[in-house]
């Protein structure tokens, strides 16, 4: 199986050991129920001794048929479905879908909604990276990181609960803006969090940055060249850790991102340690973005004033017949979207999260496809692991950070 040609075509530059003819390869099966695969991923590994010679990820154990169910629901009911794909990046899923539908409707969202979306997206990015850091460090044996990261994660979820009413899967973004303005007191609580979070990141770095075990496990492990990553379609922190400063918040600049000042952390080598450092630096940058967005939060409506798409405010329902008719029509049938197709991508915590929506003129989408970064990034696992040790497979998987709900959809 593991001929030298396979290794060359994978582009891996590792020292190859000469395979004796009588040496046997051992095929083992990891998962789908395995504590270190971060979900229901199954990996079939071919080992020579302890060295990984070939590897095949088998996915689909969490396949939920969300894309099919979305075709059966009206547009505003699809939002909760797409949310549950990548369950650590639910705001990003919503943003990708709502953004695509807004482009189909050619609906401009108000400035305040843009800022509120940015605040929630960046909080979600922090949340996602915290869960990643906690579970990955747990896989490498650093259990205290798990407690610390989940402590801060609960702070983020408290904020979500305050503004949206739910911890996870909030359905906060609406086509046309956000569903509700932030409650009074949210700003103060968010500011408190923003002040505190950088000190917490300092704590994580104090624990891990120069930790001997962590350095040994992550440095110079799982290196894949930048060119190969681009060929494989890898985006997000994994690509940036290899030195490519591709971040769609900067390059495409949707929502309020062009108004905000932030930097893009970039790695040099592209090993596990770089991936860790890039993600932690991203948390710091996200905190900065939230701080600026909170300061620059404009006054005004939080949702577009288009009665054909957006629910009328509750207060108008008892007095205005027209509002009642719109409300009834929107809730029973939903709004119709003119025929067309749009691919809209946002920079999720794991890379390019794109949503393709095909509208056929009815109140239900004809096709919803989400290009999930975990699904695409998982293809690089093979390049990361071949030639390395089996123990490094766990580390590589942890630093790859696939979310199996997003892979399987």
């Amino acid at each position: 199986m593991s001929t030298p040609e396979t290794l060359d075509s994978a582009g891996v530059t590792v020292e190859r050991q000469q395979l004796e003819p009588e040496q046997e390869l051992l095929t083992i099966n990891m998962g789908p129920h395995h504590p270190a695969t971060h979900g229901v991923l199954r990996v079939i590994v071919e080992l020579e001794g302890e060295v990984v010679r070939d590897l095949k990820p088998v996915v689909g154990y969490g396949h939920t048929g969300i894309e099919k169910s979305s075709e059966d629901k009206s547009y505003w009911k699809v939002i909760p479905f797409v949310e549950r794909m990548d369950y650590l990046a639910y705001f990003f899923n919503m943003e990708a879908f709502c953004g695509a539908v807004e482009r189909l409707l050619e609906l401009e969202i108000p400035d305040r909604a843009k800022y509120l979306r940015v605040i929630h997206l960046e909080l979600n990015r922090i949340h996602s990276h915290l869960v990643w850091l906690g579970t990955s460090a747990l896989d490498l044996g650093a259990i205290s990181m798990f407690w610390y990261c989940f402590r801060e994660r609960d702070r983020v979820l408290d904020l979500f609960e305050m503004s949206t009413g739910q911890r996870m899967h909030t359905r906060y973004f609406q086509v046309g803006g956000v569903i509700e303005d932030i409650p009074p007191g949210f700003g103060a609580k968010l500011r408190e969090f923003v002040e505190e979070m950088p000190t917490r990141v300092d704590q994580y770095q104090a624990l891990l940055d120069r930790n001997e075990i962590f350095l040994h496990r992550t440095r110079n492990v799982g290196i894949v060249s930048r060119e190969r990553l681009l060929e494989l379609g890898v985006t997000g922190p994994l690509l940036r850790a290899a030195g490519e400063p591709w971040d769609m918040r900067k390059t495409v600049g949707t929502l309020a991102y062009p108004d905000l000042d932030f930097r893009i952390p970039v790695g040099t080598v592209g090993d596990g340690y770089d991936r860790y450092r890039v993600r932690l630096a991203e948390v710091r940058e996200s905190v900065e973005i939230i701080r600026q967005a909170l300061e620059g939060l404009p006054e005004g409506p939080h949702i577009a004033d288009d009665r054909k798409v957006v629910l009328p405010p509750r207060s108008e329902l008892p007095t205005s017949m027209e509002a009642l008719i719109h409300h009834f029509k929107l809730v029973t049938e939903g709004y119709r979207v003119p025929p067309g197709e749009v691919y809209y991508a946002v920079e999720g915590p794991r890379g390019e999260l794109g949503c393709y929506v095909l509208a056929d003129g009815s109140a239900k989408p004809a096709r919803v496809h989400v290009r999930d970064p975990s699904f695409v990034n998982l293809q690089m696992l093979r390049d990361m692991c071949i030639g390395g040790l089996l123990a490094d497979l766990i580390q590589n998987l942890a630093m790859l950070d696939p979310i199996l709900g997003g892979v399987d959809r």
């Binding site: 099919k68 060929e231 794109g354």
Partner: protein
């Protein structure tokens, strides 16, 4: 994003290199799309990938949409991206549905699938719409094409490992086609017990 006139230029240049490769262009919602001949899809993709001045080197996504009442029915979409210029372009190839290909009168549609590697595979895949695989050009397409095969039953000729990816390997049917039912079954709750006592037996 190339604008509408730029898109026309791309079409002319590409047709000069590969006659008849680009059938149509469309530009709406600020997104550019080329409609390519499915038989020459690899030529178009390679031209966009290699030609100086185009250099769309990054395949963001490959997905299929089912435009059911229309014929040809399946649209294979390639979302290409030029990273330095931050330009996206969509290449679309339309494939006829299984009914049309089995009749053999599909105008502008891809050929039926070529026989696969295994004998039983060839038996299972004949009659499905087919298109050339672009895995050699864009290695990232491997999972995308397997997913498209899994959901729509579109055969990518030349794909190294075309198997179902998300559904069980023994699954029958192509669930994301528009004529496939959504599925699901009624769930009985404890409150149904008075109506249908002993339903669990």
């Amino acid at each position: 994003m190339p604008d509408a006139p730029g898109l026309e230029l791309i079409r002319q240049d590409c047709n000069a290199a590969h006659p008849g490769a680009v059938l149509d262009t469309s530009f709406d919602h600020d997104q550019a799309a080329l409609l390519a001949d499915p038989k020459q899809i690899l030529d178009v993709l390679r031209w966009l990938h290699d030609t100086p001045g185009q250099e769309y080197r990054f395949l963001s996504s490959l997905h299929v949409a089912d435009y059911l009442p229309a014929e040809p029915r399946f649209g294979v979409h390639y979302e290409l991206l030029n990273m330095p210029r931050v330009e996206r372009i969509r290449v679309k190839a339309m494939l006829a549905g299984p009914e049309a290909t089995s009749n053999g009168d599909a105008a502008g549609a891809g050929n039926p699938a070529a026989p696969g590697s295994g004998a039983e595979e060839a038996a299972g895949l004949s009659g499905l719409p087919g298109i050339d695989s672009c895995v050699e050009l864009f290695p990232t397409a491997e999972f995308h094409e397997r997913e498209a095969y899994d959901f729509f039953g579109i055969v990518f000729r030349g794909h190294p490992d075309l198997r179902r990816i998300l559904l069980p390997e023994d699954y029958v049917g192509w669930p994301l086609r528009r004529d496939f039912p959504v599925g699901g079954e009624p769930v009985l709750f404890t409150r149904d017990e008075p109506d249908s006592p002993g339903w669990y037996e």
